[in-house]
């Protein structure tokens, strides 16, 4: 570990195979599965310093550091995790995992379907936040972690932190739900549906079996990502970052790129379509839509949260309209009314939903203070 740069340095992914079947929320069972994960820091003798980092829609197990031969490919939360950083790897043993159904090495649509020997494709079952957490619990067992000191995640990752507190109240001492929500609103589901339709109606989708045709539904995935990026930024930030600036000196009177924002969206869309799997995107947006722990409790979140025992930190960002502060407050009040320990910070930020990945000084100070207060 290189402490001079506050980086965990070079890291390598690991793989765990689980041969006991996992029954999923939708009723299907995976006979066996694999999870790819990374770890940073050392698990202490008491095994009491482990922190699980849950990823959001497009994330994966590579949370901090870099891979051999690729020093620029920093983990997606590298600004948070490392020696001396807010989630300090000198104190904590940090685990990042690629979720089930993912496209970065864990069992998912690109993996072979044991029934046919061909890739699962669209036949891979829809998995939920509950299923992800059940699979993560198997990984915790394998790593000898009886209880996490903390589970942290942003957005969809925050939903997993909540689900840990609900499903395994004895196995999580702190839950950190950042820029998250106890359920998506209709508007939020609507965005996901447009993204899915973009993929599903791409002629290269082939009912989800595009691998066999040697193509990917890149146009659909690109549109899905462009739409996503619009919703992850705030109006103000987009105005500041791009405004109405043109790529060229004059208007082109064509459908080529005129404005900087168009160029940005096309670039982000193309980049994403080049590395992310469309079936994983579909599954993950469904997992987002389905998450609603209050559903079995007549919509009463406080009743759903009654099982939880963890202490919570909830953080939201002022300009995040995709996972608005109001949604975080619902979590907070649900916890308070169960007499659970919770703190809530509403961070002033221009950057919309993306704020949770940035290193705003106050935001990181809050996380640092909270992690410093966790006993290992």
């Amino acid at each position: 570990m290189d402490t001079s740069t506050n980086s965990v340095g070079e890291v390598a992914p690991q793989r765990a195979r689980f041969d006991a079947p996992l029954t999923l929320s939708g009723g299907a069972a995976l006979p066996a599965f694999e999870l790819v994960y990374e770890t940073y820091g050392e698990l202490n003798a008491a095994r009491s310093n482990a922190v699980l980092v849950c990823h959001a829609l497009s994330g994966n197990h590579h949370v901090a550091g870099w891979h051999a031969g690729n020093p620029k490919n920093l983990g997606w939360w590298d600004n948070l995790i490392g020696p001396g950083k807010p989630l300090d790897t000198r104190k904590f043993f940090v685990v990042g995992v690629n979720n089930l159904g993912g496209c970065f090495g864990s069992t998912g649509p690109m993996s072979p379907n044991p029934a046919s020997g061909r890739p699962w494709g669209a036949d891979f079952p829809v998995v939920t936040v509950e299923d992800w957490v059940a699979a993560q619990a198997r990984l915790a067992d394998r790593l000898g972690i009886e209880a996490w000191a903390a589970v942290i995640g942003g957005s969809l990752g925050g939903m997993q932190a909540m689900q840990w507190a609900l499903e395994y109240p004895e196995r999580i001492r702190h839950a950190l739900a950042i820029a998250s929500a106890p359920k998506l609103t209709a508007q939020n589901i609507a965005f996901n549906e447009v993204a899915r339709q973009a993929i599903l109606t791409d002629p290269d989708f082939h009912g989800g079996h595009y691998y066999e045709h040697g193509v990917v539904p890149a146009r659909g995935l690109r549109l899905a990502r462009m739409l996503g990026h619009i919703t992850y930024l705030s109006d103000d930030q987009m105005a500041e970052k791009f405004g109405r600036r043109l790529r060229q000196a004059d208007l082109r009177y064509s459908y080529d790129v005129d404005f900087e924002i168009e160029s940005y969206l096309r670039y982000q869309g193309d980049k994403f379509a080049g590395f992310f799997d469309a079936n994983t995107y579909l599954i993950t947006t469904k997992a987002l839509d389905y998450f609603d722990p209050a559903r079995d409790y007549g919509g009463r979140l406080a009743a759903a949260l009654a099982r939880a025992k963890a202490k919570f930190l909830v953080v939201s960002f002022s300009t995040d309209w995709r996972f608005a502060p109001e949604r975080s407050r619902e979590i907070v009040y649900g916890l308070v009314h169960n007499g659970l320990d919770v703190s809530y910070a509403e961070v002033e930020s221009m950057a919309g939903h993306d704020s949770f990945l940035l290193d705003d000084p106050h935001y990181h100070a809050v996380l640092r203070a909270y992690f410093e207060g966790i006993n290992t």
Partner: protein
């Protein structure tokens, strides 16, 4: 009286709160009252504040804190969830005083408030001399004061009487001393325990 927290009204507030109660502290600052109440009385406490520095300080102190704008009310909290809702030396900093008092007594069985008494004789003297008072309890100039409401104990009690708020207990302090006579003239800090009249 011993002043364990370096702020006189904390002592009084702590005395009025029983072990194991649920307490909401509005304008909780760095959370020192809540930490004291938790450590000494096993209170389940939550602070509410809207200053990022105070949110950070509370988290550093291991105290539950919720960032909300008190001017927007306490609508997220259920009726009667708390045993006590405390507001220590902050009531004069909110504009919607009347609504907040009602909200405190909606979400809490009792409210405990303290505030600088504008009616203290030193303040009257300053006004009589034509200047806004600056004192230990009102340590700001008119142009940089966080206080937006200026009221005396008599004003406050008149409002309570009008709104059906019952004064269960009241204390006045001048410096470190308890005031026993003519509180509105002699107390620089007032502390009240408030409840709702039986319906």
């Amino acid at each position: 009286m011993t002043n364990v927290l370096g702020r006189l009204d904390f002592d009084v507030i702590a005395k009025w709160i029983k072990p194991g109660e649920k307490v909401l502290d509005l304008g909780c600052g760095d959370g020192s009252l809540l930490r004291y109440l938790r450590d000494e009385k096993g209170v389940l406490g939550y602070g509410a504040d809207n200053d990022p520095a105070n949110i950070l300080a509370c988290i550093g102190n291991g105290v539950n804190v919720i960032q909300i704008d008190l001017e927007a009310g306490l609508s997220g909290f259920e009726d009667g969830f708390f045993d006590h809702v405390v507001m220590s030396l902050s009531l004069q900093t909110v504009r919607h005083t009347e609504r907040l008092l009602a909200e405190m007594l909606r979400v809490g069985r009792e409210a405990v408030v303290s505030f600088p008494n504008f009616g203290h004789r030193s303040h009257r003297k300053a006004i009589a001399a034509g200047r806004m008072p600056v004192s230990e309890s009102l340590p700001y100039q008119w142009f940089n004061s966080p206080n937006v409401r200026f009221f005396t104990m008599a004003d406050f009690e008149a409002l309570c009487a009008e709104r059906g708020i019952v004064l269960r207990e009241r204390l006045g302090f001048e410096g470190d001393n308890i005031v026993t006579e003519d509180l509105n003239l002699n107390a620089s800090i007032a502390v009240y325990r408030l409840g709702r009249a039986a319906q």
